[in-house]
């Protein structure tokens, strides 16, 4: 708010934004002219515009959540989300970032405990879609670069890579609904780990093992390969480490390999 502001200005900006957000009449807040009905109609346009714009943003970002709850309920949900936390960023594509947490505590969807994770997956998809361009290394080049002391290798990770970990079969649910498959879905009880990445033109989303998920998470945190393998064994004690390394190499996640020479000297 500016230091020197007239009352007229305060009442237009403050009054109109409050009337739009809080669904209170604009009359007492902002100085507007016209009949009461005209003012109510004008204000209704702004209120509808704002809510419709944000509904569109959410519907575009969360097609699968919308399909799971139905269009009508999704409108209600979008309305409640809007009022729970007025939007603060001009990057409207990020408006839905808090939706998973909101869904996690939104009583009317408590019977769909996986919904928040589906929303997380959709955010990850969008993040992968808009991420910077980069070139993934082929498996062949990665193996060649790993050389003798592969435990000391560190990796640069593709900027589009996103990882999701859920205690629900979130990838299966997402894929089934994304493809608008009308067949009923038989779900297992096991949770799923998901890799989303855009190594070429399209975002690829695949269910991956717990071990590969741990490995990719570790290398994207900056761990060297030896450390990443320790984390794999923590999450999946029987993992076949050569399979995991192949999985990293073919995932498209690696854009560069370097050798940590200090670490190598310490060995």
């Amino acid at each position: 708010m500016p230091l020197h502001e007239s009352e007229a200005s305060q009442r237009v900006y403050g009054g109109l934004s409050r009337a739009i957000l809080a669904l209170v009449p604009v009359g007492p807040l902002a100085p507007v002219t016209g009949s009461e009905a005209q003012i109510a109609a004008g204000l209704a346009v702004y209120r509808n515009n704002v809510r419709a714009a944000y509904l569109r943003v959410l519907a575009d970002a969360f097609p699968v959540v919308q399909r799971l709850v139905g269009e009508e309920f999704f409108r209600y949900l979008a309305h409640e989300y809007f009022h729970a936390q007025p939007p603060r960023s001009p990057i409207v594509a990020r408006y839905g970032d808090a939706l998973p947490d909101f869904l996690g505590r939104f009583e009317p969807v408590a019977h769909l405990p996986y919904l928040a994770d589906v929303a997380r997956l959709e955010i990850a998809w969008l993040g992968a879609y808009h991420a910077a361009e980069d070139q993934s290394l082929s498996g062949e080049k990665i193996f060649a670069a790993l050389g003798e002391n592969q435990d000391c290798a560190r990796f640069a990770v593709h900027p589009s890579m996103r990882l999701i970990s859920s205690s629900f079969p979130v990838h299966t649910i997402w894929l089934h609904n994304r493809n608008e498959d009308p067949a009923p879905l038989r779900l297992g009880v096991a949770g799923e780990r998901v890799l989303l990445i855009r190594p070429a033109r399209k975002v690829e989303a695949s269910a991956i093992s717990h071990g590969l998920h741990a490995a990719l998470q570790a290398i994207s945190d900056g761990a060297h390969l030896g450390e990443a393998m320790d984390r794999v064994l923590e999450s999946e004690p029987n993992a076949d480490l050569s399979d995991i390394i192949s999985g990293i190499a073919t995932s498209g996640a690696v854009t560069a390999v370097s050798t940590d020479t200090e670490l190598m000297e310490g060995l």
Binding site: P2, E5, S9
Partner: protein
């Protein structure tokens, strides 16, 4: 700094929508330039940028910002201005525009183009915001008149005069939205012709045309600028009135809700071109080309 002469004055364009990318880029049409909303291309990479690079290689672009809140009472969001600057640098568009409107206030982002109070205080603030944007981008921008649904009692500068004065103080140009004039005139009750005649034609570097909806709230009829229909005859009449005085100007058709097939957009743009050719005594658009 670039000038309006980067686009031929007879140019017609359409707002670029994802569902038309393929057809529009294939190029079997008479569209001269394309406009995109800046905020749709503020991600770092991915398919949206691949498409836009394709268009930028073949057509002049207009980058139209909708979220900078130039008409707001708060300071400009410098991160957002940086994002706009990056986009402008990346694509070197023929035109860059924003609105005489606000969408941010006190940290809340309302995602709509709300009208500011038309008083001297706002004039100073908007001019300083426009200066700031132009100096960050290193080029002239255009400012667009908003659509109005409420009439603030404190307004004491007519909107057309307000816009002319922002131009005089900052050296910016105008993006003149004729549908917005018609919608506002109907909703808050002023004479659209007088507004059209009052705009300084020499600084209008782009014109917007669009369709709107007619909504009813109880017994009140209100025109809503939803960019969801063909341009109505009254707006085309106002457009012709302006073109007669100003001469041809790059004209862009916006269509953002209930988006039709690309052919319908081409036809709307052709109507605008025909008006300009008629006024300029150039006969049919084909003869002009």
């Amino acid at each position: 700094m670039r000038s309006r002469f980067d686009l031929p004055t007879l140019a017609v364009g359409v707002g670029l929508k994802a569902q038309h990318y393929k057809e529009a880029l294939a190029g079997k049409h008479d569209i001269d330039f394309f406009e995109v909303h800046a905020e749709n291309f503020m991600g770092e990479g991915g398919p949206p940028h691949r498409w836009l690079h394709g268009f930028a290689a073949q057509y002049p672009l207009s980058i139209h910002g909708v979220c900078l809140s130039v008409g707001g009472r708060d300071d400009l969001d410098l991160d957002h201005l940086d994002r706009l600057a990056l986009l402008v640098e990346r694509y070197q568009p023929a035109l860059v525009s924003e609105h005489l409107a606000w969408s941010s206030d006190g940290g809340v982002f309302l995602n709509d183009l709300l009208p500011p109070p038309l008083i001297e205080e706002t004039l100073e603030r908007v001019s300083s915001h426009v200066d700031q944007v132009q100096s960050r981008l290193g080029r002239r921008i255009l400012i667009e008149n908003p659509s109005q649904y409420l009439n603030f009692a404190c307004n004491d500068i007519p909107e057309a005069e307000f816009l002319n004065e922002v131009v005089r103080r900052t050296g910016c140009g105008l993006l003149f939205d004729i549908n917005n004039v018609f919608v506002s005139a109907s909703n808050i009750g002023f004479e659209a012709e007088a507004y059209v005649d009052a705009i300084d034609a020499s600084v209008v570097a782009e014109i917007h045309l669009a369709g709107h909806a007619i909504d009813h709230y109880e017994n009140i009829v209100i025109r809503v600028d939803n960019h969801g229909d063909r341009v109505c005859p009254e707006v085309l009449t106002l457009y012709e009135r302006f073109i007669r005085r100003a001469g041809p100007r790059p004209t862009l058709v916006e269509w953002d809700t209930d988006i039709p097939d690309f052919g319908t957009l081409i036809a709307e743009a052709a109507i605008a071109k025909a008006v300009m050719c008629k006024v300029a005594n150039l006969g049919t658009p084909d003869a002009a080309a």
